[in-house]
């Protein structure tokens, strides 16, 4: 390598790293993507079928409260009137109208969740407000705290004195969590669950609330969503009023006096979920997706308070531009990979940046789907070209016909993706069809001119480089780094200067000229 190239490369790399370090160390920008835990987008989808009658759909809505902040609510429903009713601080969504045919109802919100930890003190002197005792201390049909069985269990538990509220809660919790089995599809009724020593989540929650009320502790059920495990599932738990706060208790022993951050409370005091009157509910489901910080939230975090750095921060751009640029900023990395393969390894490919473009277009689908698509599209194209060959058409129209064939092939993929319900195939529609058409042409010529083996070999190398570029373009960390620290492109350029100035052997040179190494003994 000549000295000038080495020095220029070094200068670029150092300049890039210096700006990077400045931002990271002085202004404390996070070097790795930071995504605060507990940010979710939750959606409810209900399908209702009716035959002309008026009716309504009611769904409990979450409110902002301890451990959860709800915002960005949205609702969509065709041909129905949407209202939100607030009663005693509980919110209910109501969609009403004449139900005719199938109606799809959607409701979504964003929520930021934090775990709740409640100190469980004996809370002897704290008086319980009267409305709490009235609403949550009395026996009801759902929570028969005055039933003989409940009273019998409570006396058998030998509870601590009434002044030790925390002790009483602990004993009752231990009994329900550990002595009554949790069974899916088990009894939903408190007394039956108690008699069977086995109950559903609902039955055990009812039992827990009943026993607590029986023991003189105000208690209520909470209907909520469990967002753990990548999906949203309706779930129930109990809360006991101790020392002026509501203490969450899991009916199946999952948590006690703390609520994990994957639970959202939809409504306290009732176990009723989505209710439909005047029509038939066809389907009802909750979905949850991990959310990222919104661009303006992120921008507030990522734009350093320095005038020069502010001016060059990509986070100040409009959101759509940001989305496009995020993808674009990874392309230098792809080019770097190609340069390594071409100039250091010496791999022959069809077209210099064809692998990058293909990897770029396929970055939304898993690698095997992408490769399958490329290979089968080339297959269709090469076959089409063989057929076209007989017609003896001129080059540009022939290429254009190939392009049509490739477009049809991609459309077929999209259809296939739809019938297979595979979004992976569907999202590949962004396919670089024009590039692919050129690839087909080049492949066909190489096959005709230099033999199928050579053409296949070069296609194989091209795909190999594609596969190598692929993870770089897909990696969210790489994307984050390049977008947040665009000065890293200078580093990439520096490394490229080094590669460009490297005049040593390529790896495949060594293979090509290996007979020189064996000819040491030959006389000259």
């Amino acid at each position: 390598m000549n000295r000038r190239a080495a020095a220029s490369g070094l200068a670029l790399v150092l300049l890039g790293l210096a700006i990077f370090a400045w931002k990271a160390v002085v202004y404390d920008l996070p070097v790795l993507p930071t995504d605060p835990e507990g940010l979710w987008r939750v959606e409810l989808a209900v399908s209702v079928r009716g035959s002309g009658d008026r009716g309504s759909v009611r769904a409990p809505l979450p409110s902002t409260g301890p451990g959860q902040e709800v915002y960005d609510e949205r609702s969509a429903a065709d041909r129905l009137l949407f209202t939100i009713r607030t009663e005693n601080g509980d919110r209910t969504a109501i969609w009403r109208g004449a139900f005719n045919g199938v109606h799809d109802i959607a409701y979504g919100f964003r929520v930021r969740l934090e775990p709740i930890v409640t100190p469980l003190e004996s809370a002897a002197g704290v008086p319980v407000p009267r409305e709490i005792t009235e609403r949550h201390g009395r026996a009801s049909r759902e929570f028969p705290s005055d039933a003989g069985e409940i009273q019998g269990v409570l006396s058998a538990l030998a509870l601590p004195p009434a002044s030790d509220v925390a002790g009483r809660v602990r004993s009752v919790y231990a009994m329900v969590a550990h002595e009554v089995a949790t069974s899916r599809g088990g009894p939903d009724d408190a007394l039956i669950a108690l008699a069977n020593r086995s109950g559903s989540e609902r039955g055990k929650t009812a039992l827990l609330v009943s026993l607590l009320r029986g023991a003189g502790v105000p208690a209520r059920p909470v209907l909520g969503l469990d967002l753990g495990g990548g999906s949203a599932r309706e779930t129930l738990w109990a809360e006991a009023f101790v020392g002026g706060v509501w203490v969450p208790l899991s009916p199946n022993g999952a948590f006690f006096a703390e609520r994990p951050a994957h639970l959202v409370a939809l409504r306290a005091g009732s176990m009723a979920g989505v209710e439909v009157t005047g029509a038939e509910a066809v389907a009802s489901r909750w979905d949850a997706l991990r959310e990222h910080l919104r661009s303006e939230e992120l921008a507030a975090m990522m734009v350093p308070p320095n005038r020069a750095l502010r001016a060059t921060s990509l986070y100040r751009l409009p959101v759509e531009t940001q989305t496009a640029l995020r993808l674009l900023m990874t392309i230098p990395l792809g080019a770097l990979v190609v340069a390594v393969f071409r100039n250091l390894i010496g791999v022959p490919t069809f077209g210099t940046f064809m692998p990058v473009l293909i990897a770029f277009a396929l970055r939304n689908v898993p690698v095997y789907v992408g490769l399958l698509m490329v290979v089968s599209t080339i297959g269709i194209g090469v076959f089409g070209r063989l057929v076209l060959e007989r017609l003896r058409l001129l080059l540009v129209p022939r290429l254009s016909i190939l392009l049509c064939v490739v477009v049809l092939g991609v459309a077929a993929f999209a259809l296939l993706g739809r019938t297979l319900e595979t979004r992976a195939l569907f999202s590949g529609v962004l396919f670089p069809i024009v590039i692919l058409t050129m690839l087909i042409e080049r492949f066909s010529i190489a096959a005709a001119e230099e033999g199928l083996a050579t053409a296949l070999k070069r296609a194989g190398w091209s795909l190999l480089v594609t596969v190598a570029v692929y993870p770089v373009l897909r990696d969210p960390t790489a994307e984050y780094l390049m977008f947040s620290f665009p000065e890293l492109v200078l580093c990439v350029m520096g490394v490229l200067v080094w590669i460009g100035g490297y005049t040593g052997y390529r790896l495949l040179d060594l293979r090509r000229f290996r007979s020189f190494a064996n000819a040491d003994v030959a006389p000259s």
Binding site: L394, I445, G504, S515, A517
Partner: protein, 318 residues
């Protein structure tokens, strides 16, 4: 480790790698503006005519699709010819017609094609199918050259060509490429043609390789490949050097054919000559290129420079 061993061996022998060839030779000594004359065979022909260097006779040209009709008429009056793109790369798109029977042509490799196939091929050439950068091209028809008797024994199909690499006006290395059955009659080393290194001083073959492996006998005829002296070696060196001077390129390969009747004929010039020539000679180019650079002096005659190249090649061998 064997990679490392190969690396050392290559470095010790001064084998030129692709990166160094590009950076220190083609990029440095071949100005981009001079490429068109070597990339376009018609321009090369003109240049050679000016310098008095023989080239294959041009029989017909078609640079637009409407000229194909005239091209068809022309080839129907010929018995054998070569149809090729003026700006083809790596010998792509070349059709060698050995004999004509009415409107059918027997091409190298034994296939027989009709006049329609032929003009379709010519149309592909004009559309730029085989051109270096896909630009529109010119289809040219040239006389077909015959294998010189001295090389018949070591040629199966097609015509062997001779390449001389010229650096700054001084011949550095030479080889001959002998088509085989495996290469389909083409002098393409990647497809299995044999490459034989040539001693610059004597014009005799010294080593031979096929697909990077050293061999001694032609794989098809079984005749020895070594110690065969090429006829007309001195004029060939002269053509190569003079053609290189004409092109203005500092690092260039001159491809020639020895025709049975016409003798040495210059086919084309190559601004990015390949590196396999080193394998064929079992010698690295670097020591010779460096020696040429060290001994470079302006205003030397062609003869002086050839003598210098020969001396350097001989010296590098010791």
């Amino acid at each position: 480790m064997s990679w490392l061993r190969t690396w050392r061996a290559l470095r010790d022998k001064g084998v030129l790698g692709i990166n160094r060839r590009n950076a220190e030779y083609t990029l440095r000594w071949n100005p981009r503006s001079k490429y068109p004359t070597v990339d376009d065979k018609l321009l090369t022909k003109k240049l050679c005519a000016r310098a008095g260097i023989p080239t294959p006779k041009l029989l017909a040209v078609a640079s637009h699709h409407f000229e194909l009709r005239a091209l068809r008429q022309a080839v129907l009056g010929l018995d054998s010819f070569v149809l090729k793109p003026a700006r083809g790369a790596m010998g792509n798109g070349i059709l060698v017609v050995r004999a004509r029977e009415g409107e059918r042509f027997r091409v190298a490799g034994g296939r027989s094609i009709g006049i329609d196939d032929l003009s379709y091929h010519a149309a592909g050439i004009i559309s730029g199918l085989y051109a270096l950068a896909g630009q529109t091209d010119v289809a040219i028809v040239e006389e077909r050259l015959e294998v010189h008797p001295a090389l018949v024994e070591i040629t199966t199909e097609g015509v062997p060509d001779i390449r001389v690499v010229v650096f700054r006006g001084v011949p550095a290395m030479a080889m001959t490429r002998l088509p085989t059955r495996k290469s389909g009659g083409r002098a393409n080393l990647h497809q299995g043609a044999v490459a034989a290194g040539i001693d610059l001083g004597t014009g005799a073959t010294t080593h031979a390789v096929q697909q990077s492996r050293p061999i001694e006998k032609h794989p098809d005829t079984g005749q020895s490949l070594l110690h065969r002296t090429l006829p007309g070696w001195q004029p060939m060196l002269e053509f190569a050097v003079r053609a290189a001077d004409e092109t203005g390129l500092g690092y260039v390969g001159a491809d020639m054919v020895i025709d049975a009747t016409r003798g040495p004929v210059l086919l084309e010039m190559n601004a990015r000559p390949g590196l396999m020539i080193q394998l064929a000679n079992q010698a690295g180019l670097l020591p010779r290129l460096r020696a040429i650079e060290r001994g470079w002096r302006p205003d030397r005659s062609v003869e002086e420079r050839i003598a210098a190249g020969v001396a350097i090649a001989a010296g590098a061998k010791q």
